[in-house]
């Protein structure tokens, strides 16, 4: 091959590599873009409202004549509804994943998993109205004092919505564990459950944990279900039996509403979203760090 051809080829190959790298960098740019927009829009907000009061105030009434900006109020709703959702999704999802990967026959698994994935795709608006019109009345039969809007029913439905994610992703991780590990356990006389719980699950831990993290992210970021069924009342509470607003609820409420661009009220949604973003960022980074550390230790298969 003549030299000229080689250099042309090298240019072409390098050009392509740069192009691909550019595409990969879009992920970084997106993160930066999110950070820039959120910080840029909330900077003027924090010029008016101090970080201190933002983090410690116990009231959230940003659009009132005498506004109060205690993000803790919204966070309490987010945390409570997410906790309810995860209390449902993580045990149920793990249970199902273990069952599907270690017990179910191949054919059963192959037919259940697509259904799970299909359920994971049901639009959340639909779940929201299911929570409000079906689950809440049902819960009220058991618990007459339950208000029509409450974090419990929103959280439960959110949990049900997240179960398929956790189950499907965990199952992938469990099945990726090499058969040789299972055989090692079976060869010692372990039952399927013992092998699954004591050997396969720890071996798949990082993948299973990743599914939990995604579940948590979904719960924290879920908007429509809580907006519809949890009530949109900013209230500092960790009681799932009460109505409350979450960070996402507030954002969508304001975006749907009439707050003019550029006003302080408008900027609150960016400040609130910034908190949400930092929350999921910290969470995902921590999980990623754990995963990487584990990989270094060689426990990941």
């Amino acid at each position: 091959m003549p030299k000229r051809q080689r250099s042309w080829r090298n240019w072409w190959e390098t050009g392509i590599e740069w192009l691909l790298a550019g595409a990969a960098l879009v992920a970084v740019l997106t993160t930066l873009g999110i950070a820039a927009v959120l910080i840029g829009e909330s900077l003027p907000f924090f010029r008016v409202v101090s970080w201190r009061s933002f983090l410690t105030d116990t009231q959230w009434t940003p659009l009132f004549a005498e506004p109060r900006f205690g993000i803790g109020v919204l966070l309490s709703g987010t945390i409570t509804s997410s906790a309810v959702a995860l209390a449902v999704a993580i045990p149920c999802g793990t249970w199902l994943a273990l069952y599907l990967s270690e017990f179910a026959t191949g054919r059963f698994r192959e037919s259940v998993k697509p259904i799970l994935e299909l359920l994971a795709g049901v639009p959340t608006v639909v779940f929201g109205y299911f929570a409000l019109y079906t689950v809440t009345p049902l819960l009220q039969k058991l618990w007459p004092a339950l208000p029509g809007f409450n974090l419990l029913s929103a959280g439960l439905v959110m949990g049900v919505m997240i179960v398929p994610y956790v189950a499907s992703l965990s199952e992938d991780a469990l099945r990726a564990v090499p058969m040789s590990l299972r055989e090692g356990a079976y060869a010692l006389g372990a039952t399927r459950l013992q092998a699954a719980w004591q050997v396969v699950l720890p071996a798949a831990f990082s993948g299973v944990a990743a599914s939990y993290v995604l579940g948590v992210s979904r719960a924290i970021g879920e908007t429509m279900i809580v907006a519809i069924a949890a009530g949109q009342q900013p209230r500092l509470t960790f009681n799932p039996l009460e109505p409350a607003a979450t960070v996402t609820t507030y954002i969508v409420q304001v975006s749907k509403g009439d707050v003019p661009y550029g006003s302080l009220g408008y900027r609150t949604i960016f400040a609130a979203a910034l908190v949400l973003f930092i929350l999921t960022l910290v969470f995902n980074l921590a999980a990623d760090w754990v995963r990487r550390r584990q990989r270094v230790q060689g426990c990941v298969l």
Binding site: E17, L20, T31, P123, T223, V252, S255
Partner: protein, 312 residues
Amino acid sequence: MTNPATIGRLGDRAAARIRWARQLERGFVLGAWALLGLLAVVFLSLFAGVLQTGWERLQPDFFLTFASRRAAQAGILAAWVGTLVVMAVTAAVALPLGVAAGVYLEEYARPGRLTTLIEVNIVNLAGVPSIVYGLLALGLFVRLLGLGASILTAGLTLGLLILPIVVVATREAIRTVPQSIREASYAVGATRWQTVWQHVLPAALPGILTGIIIGLARAIGETAPLVTIGAVTFIAFLPPAPFSPEAPFLSFDWLWAPFTALPIVTFDWTSRPNPAFRPNAAAAALVLTFLTAVMNATAVWLRYRLRRQQLW
């Protein structure tokens, strides 16, 4: 089951332990069945409810008319067209970017800070709430770039939203292509790009398609980001056609057109005070769910075929 005594030599303690483990196992399986049953009941009642409410509205007219203040006359023409058009833009954004990023990370990137940075970012973006993407779009596309609440804005937003899904799917698909195929290609003198383009990508294509479809299925139901970019509008017309009989024949005006989409009308109708809109909302939700189901089913089918065709 055998009485452990007949196989002897293990001792009572071990035998008791094994019996206990077996019982636990049975409990676990029963529990899993109960759980599956419960989930089935929940989802069936969900679908039954929606179906019951919305069934009557699923007439041809419903798909062929625009929104109306009269519930009985309101249709989803603008909404489903909007959804399809926005999905097309979303795919056009996410597919090339996601596949390129996936190829870069799997085939080109050397381990190092930059690669780690990109990987961490992708993992993280997968967890960023969709409403935050909505605010990114509001600040960047709508305001800064002045694209307005247009089809382009929505497509870009949802495209970024599903980018991590496409990247991860691409990477997984590429990883299933055995190294031996690459080495075979290099060994006859192919360059990296030739290897990727001629061997790796074709072999990974079904997996990549599965990923993009699952991503689109996720995007199609997203409401929050569209609400934040301000897409809740009354739209009783379709975007301009991309083709015209006169020169220049092709036009991209539709990218800048305002739009509405299925999740938006669903949300709008459900939040209307007039209960007569409830069946409309349910019917729109059904259409949306059906579209999602079709997409997911396509993905499942693709994956199934892929697994059957797996040659290595």
